[in-house]
């Protein structure tokens, strides 16, 4: 057995808090002051999260989100838009792998195996997407939704993507977090995103064949505690570690609160986005 990992269930949080705590866990681990962590959590209100490089003002219909009570937050990780609602969100903060290549793909593979073990234990016939050489479609042509495209070592069941994940890599630490929906609100997701009505209609239709959710596929309904427990067991088995319940440290709370206030609650981070977007294209105010 290796060094144990920490397991924390932080329950439902706000969009800003959830992202802030994930980044705080990454930063404190990077500083060498924390165990690897599997965190599970949920959301106080439906939330659209965006990948680091997505241009919020261009890609999101902020008025539609506001009208539907959907919060919007930009993640520290890559990837595309996810509508978090009825789901379990997992986040893993772990060191670079010591027993193999510590590449993006290898972390996806290992974590994918843990997620697969968890979901298979609940009777869901998942498989890992096989690696394939491909050329990424131009960002402007690709669907802005995370669940629309299956990347290497992401999970599918019945041919549909059922876990959407994204990574942030620092010098010594990897943060990977992802959404495991119980149900998939395809219409709601695409209503949050700016696009011509015809394209939205096409993408929503496609979503019924490409996007899945746990309780659309599971033989018997899966509950929140059952999925949380399965994740804990799946990571323990796959990584050969014990997951012990250790509370979030005061230092981590303080850093999370700081990041929540100064970064993830601000329009500068969530709406105005990266330096690149700000410099390159003045966009209409919504």
């Amino acid at each position: 057995m290796q060094q144990p990992w920490r397991f924390v269930n932080t329950g439902n949080g706000t969009a800003a808090f959830n992202m802030a705590l994930d980044e705080a866990l990454l930063l404190v681990h990077e500083a060498g002051a924390a165990l690897p962590t599997l965190r599970v959590y949920g959301w106080c209100q439906p939330t659209l999260s965006l990948g680091y490089a997505q241009n919020t003002r261009q890609e999101v219909d902020l008025a539609a989100c506001q009208a539907q009570g959907i919060a919007v937050v930009r993640r520290p990780t890559g990837g595309r838009a996810v509508l978090h609602d009825q789901e379990v969100t997992y986040s893993v903060v772990m060191p670079l792998l010591a027993d193999g290549p510590s590449t993006i793909t290898e972390h996806y593979r290992r974590i994918g195996m843990a997620l697969a073990t968890a979901l298979q234990s609940l009777g869901i016939p998942v498989c890992l997407a096989r690696p394939q050489v491909r050329t990424a479609p131009a960002r402007t042509l690709a669907s802005p939704a995370c669940f629309a495209a299956l990347s290497r070592y992401e999970l599918s069941a019945a041919g549909k993507k059922i876990v959407g994940s994204a990574q942030k890599r620092a010098q010594r630490t990897v943060l990977q977090h992802g959404s495991i929906p119980f149900w998939m609100d395809r219409q709601g997701l695409f209503q949050c995103l700016r696009m011509p009505a015809e394209r939205r209609q096409v993408l929503v239709q496609e979503a019924y064949t490409t996007m899945g959710a746990v309780n659309e596929i599971a033989p018997t309904p899966v509950t929140l505690p059952a999925l949380q427990d399965a994740l804990r067991q799946g990571f323990s088995t796959t990584f050969g570690v014990e997951l012990v319940e250790v509370p979030i440290a005061p230092e981590e709370w303080r850093l999370a609160q700081h990041l929540q206030a100064t970064k993830y609650s601000t329009d500068t981070w969530n709406l105005d986005g990266t330096v690149v977007w700000r410099q390159r294209q003045p966009v209409e105010k919504v």
Binding site: A53, G78, I104, Q167
Partner: protein, 131 residues
């Protein structure tokens, strides 16, 4: 895989080329292969001061955001903003058109402490052999 001998390297897979008191920086051929298709590059504003091995930007490949680390400390005097529109140049030409920033070095001795091509190649071989 290329390891140009006129460059120095970091273990975080950046390359550095000295031009007088300035250092041109990018990521290595090995790094771009490991990242896969680069879809986004974020570089610092001109005039930004950075510490050696401090982060100076991020690169996003499919599904992951990775920090970029400065080989030397100093001030950012040029940034390759073409990468904002053409991030794929990092894959196509990591040592050429895919360069990222130019740093006015604060401490030229730091450059000499970076890995040589042979040392970096050995490091990469070791990293790959752990698979």
């Amino acid at each position: 895989m290329e390891f140009p001998v006129n460059l120095r390297y970091t273990k975080e897979h950046e390359w550095a080329r000295q031009e007088g008191n300035r250092v041109v920086v990018g990521i290595t051929d090995y790094a771009q292969k490991e990242l896969g298709d680069v879809v986004f590059v974020e570089l610092p504003d001109l005039g930004t001061t950075i510490e050696a091995m401090g982060t100076f930007g991020v690169v996003e490949s499919v599904k992951a955001v990775s920090d970029l680390y400065a080989p030397v400390s100093g001030t950012i005097v040029e940034a390759n903003t073409i990468l904002e529109d053409q991030p794929e140049l990092v894959n196509a030409s990591p040592y050429g058109q895919g360069w990222m920033v130019v740093i006015e070095a604060a401490n030229p001795e730091e450059f000499q402490q970076l890995l040589t091509a042979a040392e970096y190649q050995a490091y990469v071989v070791q990293e790959k052999s752990s698979r």
